[in-house]
């Protein structure tokens, strides 16, 4: 009796905590989405009415469209490069024993823990130094920005792909070789498909991380090469109206759709 009551309480507490966490996470998303339809320019509750004109404004402000394209471009290139390099690194870390393996692993994960502004400043100084020494201009160029984002995306790939590689039973690869597949065929037909879920998740998280990065990009973009988060920040500097909410809403939709599509191919809850 007492035991079952206690169990009941425990369950109730758990449900309450879960509910609160969800509220905490979803409230900003819901409010941003809601505000983007408010008709009044100065945000106040309750709204005077609803309108779509902020979305029109997003379209008219070419900075957003250009920032969007720029972010898309940077995120796409950085994801491809980051996932490729990160995957190779993961294979080395999981499959080979060499001195400094642990250190390499830590090093590749470290961008996750270094604050973006710190890393941005460091890269800024580094890029200037590279320019001085090699006459290779990285600061305020697309290459520089992409390289910085590659650094951001690698930890995600290393974490997710390493996890999926560790989960692969090596004897399955042995079986393929036993049946006549050479190393490359074994990788292509067996290893790769088995780590696909991890790769897809890695690509998704890399893309999102790059797409919404502000701190690092802020220090590295050049004139006329603004990413979407920076465009939003710059707009905010002189104007606060629901346009920002509308941009954010579009971005939430985009990332949400991306996750849903991905989830259809690999169950993200199982990979992450």
């Amino acid at each position: 009796m007492i035991v079952s009551l206690r169990r009941h309480w425990r369950r109730a507490t758990l449900c309450a905590v879960v509910f609160l966490v969800y509220v905490f996470i979803l409230t900003p998303v819901i409010f941003v989405s809601w505000i983007s339809f408010f008709s009044n320019e100065i945000v106040s509750f309750p709204p005077e009415g609803y309108t779509l004109r902020w979305f029109a404004n997003v379209w008219e402000q070419r900075v957003f469209a250009r920032g969007f394209v720029m972010s898309l471009q940077v995120a796409a290139i950085a994801t491809v490069l980051g996932v490729s390099l990160g995957t190779l690194a993961s294979i080395a870390i999981v499959r080979y024993r060499f001195p400094g393996r642990e250190t390499l692993n830590m090093l590749l994960l470290s961008p996750l823990i270094v604050p973006g502004t710190v890393a941005g400043t460091a890269l800024y100084i580094f890029y200037i130094a590279v320019d001085d020494a090699l006459e290779w201009r990285l600061q305020a160029t697309l290459e520089g920005l992409v390289l910085a984002h590659v650094m951001l995306t690698i930890p995600w790939t290393v974490r997710l792909v390493t996890a999926s590689l560790v989960g692969i039973d090596r004897s399955v690869e042995d079986a393929a070789m036993n049946l006549g597949a050479n190393r490359w065929t074994t990788f292509r037909r067996v290893t790769f498909p088995m780590m696909r879920a991890g790769l897809v998740a890695a690509a998704l998280f890399s893309f999102i991380t790059s797409f919404e990065n502000l701190e690092l990009s802020l220090l590295l973009v050049g004139p006329g090469r603004t990413t979407l988060p920076i465009a939003i920040l710059q707009y905010l500097e002189f104007k606060v109206d629901p346009t920002i909410a509308a941009v954010s809403f579009v971005q939430i939709l985009l990332i949400g759709t991306l996750m849903l599509i991905t989830d259809r191919f690999v169950k993200l809850s199982r990979v992450v």
């Binding site: 004897s171 042995d174 079986a175 036993n178 049946l179 088995m194």
Partner: protein
């Protein structure tokens, strides 16, 4: 099918000698079981035959081809792995077809051969399933079909039954044996289960700490173990330590004078007598090797009863007696053994085997 020869095979992992000078010939169509306790080097030996582990020294021949330095995909062995190692992202049919695709078998021939292989392991109609949708026993059979469909020169199995429950293990064991015999497969089978090895194999290779202890038929190993390890590992034995006093006579530490079958090849000095518990009699008519003692312990084993008898010399001997008379029989009740009961045990000289003392 071809024969397999291992010539003085050695594998070192750093300082560990996992396989130590193994020489073995597996004849065409023969099933040889590698048997030994965990860590004795069975898997390492098998994986060297398959080509997953490079031999440190020695030679491996399949047929008359030296494959010692060939990668696994050039060796044409068919291996069944302990955990089956099915490709989780392929259907059953795709799993079985994989080896045929690698051999560039014409597309039109693949489907019939896959179907035939699945029929062979009684999985017809399950070709479109994914491995995870099958039971353990069915996955096991897919692994068999996948290894056999390529018509390998050698069939390799690493503890293929250890993940099955006891009932299934028995029936799959029979199936594997029938398949192996009907296809005439040259087979190397790894197991740590002596019963499995004894019932399945044409010949057994008993291994310990990387080296071969004895090679022989199940009967030879059981009846004529070459050393203390084999006598102890295959079946059960009573061991009496002591020394040879005269040809065919042995004095135990406790002072028993035991007659044994002297083969002339036996050690002359200190040694161990090995006596199977079922060859020891309780009571019995007059003859050599009769010793008084007291029943210390009785264990009912179903088909047999085991008695532990403490001899007057202080040594203990285990005796098994078949429970071959119906329960409730008066004669049985009369013979019923009770702890504390004085008895005489005896065994024929031929049942006592003289072996070298175990390595300390």
């Amino acid at each position: 099918m071809s024969q397999v020869s291992l010539r003085r095979l050695v594998k070192r992992f750093g300082a560990v000698k996992a396989v130590d000078d193994v020489t073995l010939d597996v004849r065409e169509g023969e099933l040889v079981a590698l048997l030994g306790p965990s860590g004795c080097g069975k898997t390492t030996t098998l994986r060297m035959i398959a080509g997953f582990i490079a031999a440190t020294e020695g030679q491996i021949l399949i047929g008359d081809r030296d494959v010692t330095h060939l990668p696994p995909y050039r060796r044409n062995t068919g291996m069944v792995f302990q955990g089956y190692a099915l490709f989780p992202h392929m259907t059953v049919a795709q799993n079985v077809a994989f080896g045929l695709e690698m051999r560039k078998v014409a597309k039109a021939d693949i489907a019939p051969r896959v179907a035939e292989a699945l029929r062979l392991v009684r999985l017809d109609g399950l070709g479109e399933r994914m491995p995870r949708q099958l039971s353990g026993g069915q996955q096991q059979r897919v692994a068999l079909a996948r290894a056999l469909v390529i018509r390998p020169e050698v069939f390799l199995l690493d503890e293929p039954l250890s993940n099955l429950d006891a009932k299934l293990r028995l029936s799959v064991r029979v199936e594997i044996r029938q398949l192996q015999q009907s296809l005439g497969l040259t087979t190397v089978f790894v197991t740590h289960d002596q019963e499995e090895a004894l019932t399945l194999a044409d010949r057994l290779v008993v291994m310990s700490q990387g080296s071969v202890q004895q090679i022989g038929t199940p009967e030879a190993l059981y009846e004529r173990p070459a050393n203390h390890f084999v006598a102890d590992f295959i079946g059960r034995s009573n061991f009496l330590e002591g020394r040879v006093t005269a040809p065919g006579m042995f004095r135990t530490r406790g002072g028993l004078d035991v007659a044994f079958a002297d083969t002339g090849a036996s050690p002359r000095d200190a040694g161990v007598l090995a006596i199977r518990p079922e060859k020891v009699q309780v009571g019995g008519e007059a003859g050599p090797n009769r010793f008084p003692g007291t029943i210390e312990f009785v264990t009912y084993l179903g088909a047999a009863t085991e008695l532990r008898v403490r001899l007057a010399s202080g040594e203990a001997v285990a005796v098994t007696r078949p429970n071959d008379t119906p329960a409730g029989d008066g004669a049985v009740a009369a013979r019923a053994a009770m702890p504390g009961q004085p008895v005489t045990v005896s065994w024929p000289p031929a049942a006592a085997l003289l072996l070298a003392p175990p390595a300390a």
